[in-house]
Symmetry: C2
Subunit: 130 residues, 2 copies
DNA sequence: TATAATAACAGTAACGATTATCGTTATTGT
DNA sequence: ACAATAACGATAATCGTTACTGTTATTATA
């Protein structure tokens, strides 16, 4: 009694996301996957993104507005550019990851999200700041 | 030539938020401020929340779905409960804040947001996990 | 203190990202 | 092959937030 059947759509979505180094929004991903499967429905994309998040195969990045998605589940941090709004990976050493102090808390801490804000290299060169 | 006039509504919103120790959503704050100013419009609330964020008087907490707001601008971290969705303060020592390593990045890093996830003390006692 | 300019308001419509519904298609165990 | 049903495409609904519009209230100046 299997719960998750294979689907060409889900495979295409996951493979597309894994092949990218950016962190696309749902719409960016939708437009990209549609080049391979033009009939792909937006509802199908969202349904699969939710399932992939729930099963831990992808990560959702939130900072107000649209969500961004990342197929890299290894621990790493992100920077969000104040100018262009894009997310970039911050390659972090294992020592740095371990350096984040886990606070004392009368509950259970399981995970964390660390997002830096600033100006990405591209925007810094191009226009200057906000 | 003044740009920001005083308004009873904005004062009430900011004072209400400052008097709370939770981190309410816009709607929670709206319902609360309406007890003092029943005529308060939702548009007015959002307009002022945006202005207060832009001027750095309050902070917006994002994790998908609704935004939460916090009138404490001193550096501190948060935990979001996987069960009830609420945000709680994590009192952090100055040493811990300094311990967060700022990564090397070919751009400009200005700020960061650190959100822990887990089960809050209340949910841990009450129901168990998700 | 009255007056004029306009920031801010209340009320409401519009927007946009996401989710839900529904009839159809495709996967999978028998 | 066949039946059961997960997943799909298409589209409607949801809901948090923003934009618009006519009115009210603040503030600088007379």
């Amino acid at each position: 009694m299997q719960q998750t059947r294979k689907s060409r759509q889900r495979d295409a979505i996951l493979n597309n996301l894994r092949a990218r180094c950016d962190h696309p929004t749902a719409m960016e991903l939708y437009l990209s996957v549609r080049e391979e499967i033009p009939s792909l429905s937006l509802g199908t994309l969202y349904r699969n993104l939710k399932g992939l998040c729930d099963s831990g195969q992808i990560i959702r990045l939130s900072d107000g507005g649209e969500e961004h998605y990342d197929a890299c589940t290894a621990p790493h941090w992100h920077i969000k550019c104040d100018c262009c709004g894009r997310f970039y990976d911050l390659p972090v050493s294992p020592e740095a990851v371990l350096a984040v102090p886990i606070p004392e808390y009368d509950g259970e801490i399981r995970d964390y999200s660390l997002i830096f804000f600033g100006v990405c290299a591209h925007c810094a060169r191009t226009a200057g700041e906000k």
